[in-house]
Symmetry: C2
Subunit: 918 residues, 2 copies
């Protein structure tokens, strides 16, 4: 933190050797505007949009932006600044002084600034803001005289010291239950004077507070609150830059994969005041509803307040529609601004405004964060309104958000029986049940133990972020739609109900009340973020409307959500090139996946078929067989089951390709681990428990992930491959020849190939069995034989393997484990720390490691295609449902991705986006 160096810099920032060429570090906005929206990377989102608003004639108070390059410079040069920065700043200050007719630090006519951070991507609540900068013991007197409003002037100063003391000088509560020390002083004074509201404090009260605040700062930091206005400015700028790497910012960036290199800009803007009395106000608004996307003017404001009062949730703001009555002129102007903004920015906007003595000022605009549902609805409706093109709309919907249309809702029956406790603002759609927790720490702790929790807070602050991430849903009793909780929930897709006023939360007693109802920490609670309802106890869930329509239980015309879904999917399918398959093992899964748009099965794991009922017994007999004859006998019993499974899949898939992976896991996974179960098994199979124990022991492996599994089993026990091939081909024959014949397209996949000869060995068996079955059943059908590429050697030798393989399916789960030398099951002990330390930016098991694993996939694809023209290339790891990964797979030219059924729509949309961004 720069606090320590602040006193040294005094009126000039610390500088280091200047770079060779003169770089423009400061961009003005106001009458003279240097920037524009397109300079977002340099000016940050806020700075770029302030410039853009100034350009299109919206009323923006003048100011200037210090670029993100200065932030980079700051961290690269031991927290110092470029040489020219100080003088350039003074020049820009002078230009603002000229426009405003005031002077920075002038005791008689002081110019005041706000100082705000502004990164390339908006990071709500993460960065720090200072208002009223430029006030000191002298200028405050001038301001009082100038405005004729000493109370206002001292209130501004009090606020400034409070913010500056907190943000720049580090004076704040020392733990999450301690009260803010400045607020503490205010509360004490109010108590002493029996004052209820802050605005009832007199000018003298405020002067007293100012003194107390300055003393507090001196006591806590052993430094004086700075009276030099430039010292104030550089302190604030340093704090903004410093906050770029504070813990909260780190956590936020990790969650949203924002690179630390981007840096933040600093916006220095002349102050306007929403707290100049009853003709002044301040507010935030959205051009549409950010929770459900409805086209309504949506927002809230406070009369006689400064911006942070709205967001902080201390006073509950009023809905924007009320402004129409309170300030009709300003409201009309705002409605115009709302339209101008959407027309200009072609997107839903989230903006801040201030009305100073009746005059409207725009302080910020940005693309509004929205829920997945809102993202879809806004995109679809903006196309309908001819505001944007379809291709733009596709790109505006984060691919992941389509899945929020598929999340379960509360079951109607369950809901009927449930007890409604309260209703708040529906701030994050969806249904969530969980145990009540009151602090972020407990939320994190329980989440680690696998307990689902609902974080219940009076209001949330950035300190709660980790806890919010760990929770199923968030409930607050205070704060509106632009409160921290609502903002964050919106962005993270968390279920959230805000400002449920009926609920009283008592942190100390660890309980919450609503009416006569009392719930304690650990009790179950359920929240519906689509309706804002809060229920006591656990509620069951039901499939989403989309799923209900797809299952035929709801008519499309009765579900607007479904209509939105269908529209977006139709668009996606029109543009995408990458095919989307699904990973499915049962006809039911396959059926749902096809309804969600799957064009085939990319991975059917045959081992999942061995666990049900009798099957596991035969499987175990097979494993315990002491010779090939016994093993064949057990396999013979398994054959009809497997055949039946495949018949079911082939019928459902109606000629779409069905990729069937041969037995993959190590055999020990099929044997019982507990002594008791082993004894039972012994009795059942008429085998001594010792034999079973011995076999378990002999099958034990140090690193089962790298052991006797995959094709290695098929090589050791060719009779297993024979049985599986026979089951597949006999099923195909039966389906093709049945009374209602259905075409089939089996693609047999040999797992864990490392050597071309392994594949040749297995392929020879498969072809032999195919020939036998076709001859026996007097039928012909087409099939492919290919392999999973899931260990690095296979990728490296793709040119050789492609001579035998008719397709490659990248098993990126295992390929990630082997390429990174990192066991997915075990990486939990260090991967979180790797993210904290920014060694990795994304969990490589969630989003493909493009540099390493991706390099192998790309090289193997190029070499595979060289060796076999038209070889089919797909991927069937979990990355197949991750938008970033899907885009990568499109870029390197795979034919398809395969993912779990609920991710199919996400993959379809991501594939379309990838194609559009080619």
């Amino acid at each position: 933190m720069p606090t320590e160096t602040k006193r040294k810099v005094a009126t000039k920032p610390k500088t280091a050797a200047s770079p060779k060429k003169k770089v423009k570090y400061i961009y003005d906005f106001g009458k003279k505007t240097d920037g524009k929206a397109a300079l977002r990377n340099l000016l940050g989102g806020k700075g770029a949009n302030l410039a853009e608003m100034a350009c299109i004639g919206l009323p923006v108070p003048p100011g200037f932006t210090i670029t993100t390059e200065v932030c980079t410079y700051f961290y690269d040069n031991k927290k110092s600044y470029p040489n020219s920065l100080a003088s350039d700043t003074e020049k820009s200050v002078a230009r603002v002084e000229k426009q405003m007719g005031k002077k920075f630090g002038d005791p008689n006519n002081p110019l005041l600034f706000s100082v705000r951070s502004g990164a390339r991507e908006s990071m709500p609540g993460m960065m720090d803001t200072i208002l009223n900068l430029g006030l000191n013991d002298k200028t405050v007197v001038g301001l009082a005289k100038l405005t004729g409003n000493p109370r206002f002037a001292y209130d501004c100063y009090r606020r400034f010291i409070q913010m500056y003391g907190d943000v720049v000088m580090g004076v704040h509560s020392r733990n999450e239950n301690e009260r803010d020390p400045f607020e503490n002083i205010i509360e004490k004074l109010k108590g002493r004077k029996s004052i209820e509201h802050d605005f009832d404090l007199s000018a003298d009260d405020l002067i007293e507070l100012i003194k107390s605040f300055q003393q507090l700062i001196k006591k806590r930091t052993e430094k004086k609150f700075p009276q030099d206005v430039y010292a104030q400015l550089w302190g604030a700028v340093g704090a903004v830059f410093g906050s770029w790497r504070n813990d909260r910012a780190m956590v936020y960036r990790q969650k949203y994969n924002i690179p630390v290199e981007w840096g933040t800009a600093v916006n220095v803007q002349s102050m306007v005041f929403g707290n100049m009395g009853k003709t002044s106000s301040t507010g935030v608004a959205f051009t549409r509803d950010p929770a459900n996307g409805e086209k309504i003017f949506y927002g809230e404001y406070l009369i006689n307040a400064q911006g942070e009062d709205v967001v902080a949730g201390i006073r509950t703001p009023k809905p924007i529609v009320q402004l129409k009555k309170e300030m009709p002129k300003a409201y009309a102007e705002l409605e115009k601004v709302r339209k101008t903004l959407e027309k200009h920015f072609k997107d839903m906007q989230d903006f801040e405004f201030t009305v100073e003595e009746g005059k409207l000022y725009m302080l910020q605009t940005r693309n509004g964060k929205r829920t997945g549902l809102a993202a879809v609805r806004i995109a679809v409706e903006m196309v309908r309104e001819r505001l944007i093109k379809i291709t733009t709309a596709i790109n505006k919907i984060p691919a992941d958000s389509i899945s929020s249309l598929l999340v379960p809702v509360f079951d109607i029956q369950s809901r009927k029986k449930a007890m409604l406790m309260a209703t708040g603002l529906p701030a994050g759609p969806g249904a969530a049940s969980g145990r009540i927790v009151f602090t972020a720490g407990v939320a994190e702790e329980l989440e680690r133990q696998g307990v689902k929790v609902i974080l219940c807070r009076v209001e949330t602050t950035p300190e709660d972020l980790r806890g919010m991430i760990a929770s199923e849903g968030i409930l607050t009793s205070r704060g509106g739609v632009s409160s921290h909780a609502a903002l964050v929930a919106r962005q993270m897709g968390k279920v959230c109900v805000c400002g449920a006023h009926e609920i009283v939360i008592d942190y100390e007693k660890r309980m919450l009340k609503a009416g006569g109802n009392v719930l304690r920490e650990g009790d179950a609670i359920s929240i519906d973020g689509t309706t804002g309802e809060v229920f006591s106890g656990h509620l069951d869930t039901a499939p989403s409307e989309v799923n209900q329509v797809l299952a035929g239980n709801l008519k499309p015309r009765n579900s607007y959500t479904y209509q939105l879904f269908a529209k977006v999917m139709a668009w996606a399918d029109k543009y995408r090139q990458l095919k989307v398959r699904t990973n499915a093992d049962t006809p039911a899964q396959a059926k749902m996946a096809v309804a969600l748009g799957a064009q085939g099965i990319g991975l059917c794991r045959t081992e999942h078929m061995f666990f049900e009922g009798e099957r596991i017994t035969f499987m175990r007999k097979m494993i315990l067989a002491s010779n090939k004859i016994e093993r064949r006998a057990a396999l013979k019993k398994l054959l009809p089951f497997q055949r039946k499974d495949f018949i079911g899949l082939f019928k459902v898939m109606e000629g779409r390709p069905v990729t069937i992976r041969l037995l993959d896991p190590p055999l020990h996974e099929f044997l019982p681990m507990e002594a008791a179960s082993r004894n039972a098994l012994g009795k059942e199979l008429n085998v001594s428990p010792k034999v079973i124990a011995d076999r378990v022991k002999s099958l034990h492996e140090q690193n089962p992930m790298l052991g006797h599994r995959g094709c290695r089993l098929g090589v050791s026990y060719p009779e297993i491959t024979e049985m599986q091939a026979r089951a597949i081909f006999e099923a195909a024959a039966q389906v093709v020849k049945s009374k209602k014949p259905v075409p089939v397209a089996p693609e047999i996949m040999v797992p864990l190939i490392g050597y071309a000869r392994e594949l040749k060995n297995q392929v020879a068996i498969i072809h032999r069995i195919a020939k036998e079955v076709m001859k026996q059943k007097k039928v012909k059908f087409h099939y492919l034989v290919g392999t999973m590429i899931e260990i690095p050697r296979a990728a490296l030798m793709a040119h050789e393997i492609a001579e035998t393989a008719e397709f490659f399916s990248y098993g990126t789960n295992d390929l990630t484990q082997t390429t990174l030398g990192m066991s997915r099951d075990d990486s939990g002990s260090f991967l979180p720390e790797y993210k904290d330390l920014e060694i990795i930016s994304q969990n490589p098991f969630a989003t493909i490691d493009q540099d390493g694993v991706g390099q192998l996939v790309e090289t193997a694809s190029v070499n595979g295609r060289k060796a076999r023209k038209g070889i089919k290339l797909g991927i069937c790891g979990e990355h197949g449902g991750d938008p970033d990964s899907v885009k990568f797979f499109h870029t390197i030219g795979l034919d398809y991705v395969s993912c779990s059924p609920p991710r199919v729509p996400v993959a379809r949309l991501a594939a379309a986006q990838a194609k559009l961004n080619d």
Copy 2:
């Protein structure tokens, strides 16, 4: 086996569509010779050398060679032959007929052939041989008339039927204890007639045997013994080709890494007879002693015998020197041939000869197999004799064989006390103790259980091969230096004593006797293959002479072995480019390695230092620490130990580079696994056993190989890296500043890097500590920081990692595990089968997988050098001591290999060979 198709081919081979261009499939030798030694790949070793001998005027009976390309064709075309082969064969037969003045199949003047296999590399005992081919019920009468020796003619026919029946028609003993069915008939007849020796059988006896043999074949195979001589010829040719892929040949090829693609040639040669009476003989000889390399004429012969009698070991042959008395003229000629051969082939030759009625014929010559010791001695002495150049000599010594000069010998004291049971021929140098086993099967079984065995046989046959491989040493009671046992032992470097006649082996009672001494299966026995001595019981071993000299316990001039070693090493060092380091953890190991030529330490595993005495207690305290403070306290206790270790190493290495790897294994490896030890530990550390059990549980991993280890530990617990870095630098400071200052060159190696940022994280700590220590101790020293490249991602991202790493050391053990997705510990369950099925040719953990792992190493080296000019590249996996791997590492331009101390000389020699073969 071609037996089934034989009857169909009749007088012409089965043919397939002819290839487009006319290929020469047959090469004659004799008066007209088409081949030469250089055509080894095409004609096989035997065929090429027969041609070469014919060219340089040695007396070779005429014949022709069917090329290895026909073998390839045979397997590629369902065991059929090229179109032209039949007519070309007839033409070549006609040419031989002309030279010999005889006709193939002529009842009056029959030409007889031997048919022998001949692969590129000699494969003794693997392939099958047929002699006297062309005899049938009619031609035998002609031969009898022509030679005036009916007994001889019928004996030839009897032998032919016996061999043909066995090798071509598959009539042989059905298990290893059953007698050969043909020998059985002979023995019965001899019993009935009270005849002791085969040569006492009369012509009529032999006619009776011929009938019985033909009946036996008819009964066993339901086929008649063929009377048509071309049918005989094609049957024999098919059998030779067929035997290329029989089990024994497979096993042999695996052991010696001979590719199955090479194929074998077939040599058809006119017969000469060593069994034409007392003026005839046959023998095998070496131009030098193949066991110890001494320059003596070495071999053995039998009067009135055919070649196979010598090798088979049924009659004990006489040493070659006796031939001087029995056939002085032939002996003198042989001595001349011996010199001619060495002069021409520039290598020790192993040749076969026959004297037919006083006339010498050469039937084969080849480079003689030899023991490691002999290889070294012959190469050194041939240089001294100016027969070959040093560079040739270097290439003539298999790099592995240098290690046979370093194998232990029997301890003098132990030997003095031991009981000498018998003395045989010293056929494979070295000392071996083990349990007695009598069959190959038991040998294999016990070897799997980790029991050391000595295989004791009357004589060995190719069926014993797997058992011989599984044994520590081989002892036979019959057979000479060219017996199967001797040949194989020589080639495999097995300790072997042959023909220890005093020993009587009783397979049924499973015991052996010598004098009054009786040992049973399972009893200990010891054999000295350098002296031929056999001892009862177990003998202790002592270091080799070379090690004794290096340790200063023996004077160089008293050890010829040491002199040979030193000479070869001096040559190697002159030519090699690759540096050789050693993997050593203690000063003692390091000292021995330096004596053996190590130029630095390539891998010091610091974790090995944590197991001794008190250290493990502090290590465990560190692991059980519940916070950083406790952990630091435990680490502080470990620091002095580590420092002391490094001081020791630095002193011994005297400024040579010392690569120190930071802590690598997962922490659970340091905690006790048994409940009892945990309780003891609990008491010792004053920690409840539950805490220990919990920690063990929390450290448990599914796949520890891919878990929390390597640099991941250092990232999670930076204090471990700090402590290790401090210990290294403080040690360096102390050594540099001591009274007798010694230069130091520490190279700190961070293990298991996957991401460049992991390395940056660790390197920052190391540099910081280095700075601190240098400042504290007021000293400067140079050090490097680099990384192990041991997971594929690191290899793939080498360009990025090289920005931080000052050296790469390829950890090819782990790199092999991850690249192949194959756990070394677990691969035992399927790798042997992979070799059997020829999916892999070499164990990838012994010899580097060039295609896969090698590709990564090569790419990483190229990219690493691009990113950092002059980056030091080495390898420290076990492959560093494997000659084939060393050659590969030279080829791709690494700077050094590092291997265990005893492999250092092997690596030095292999490196020189690699350079010479550039």
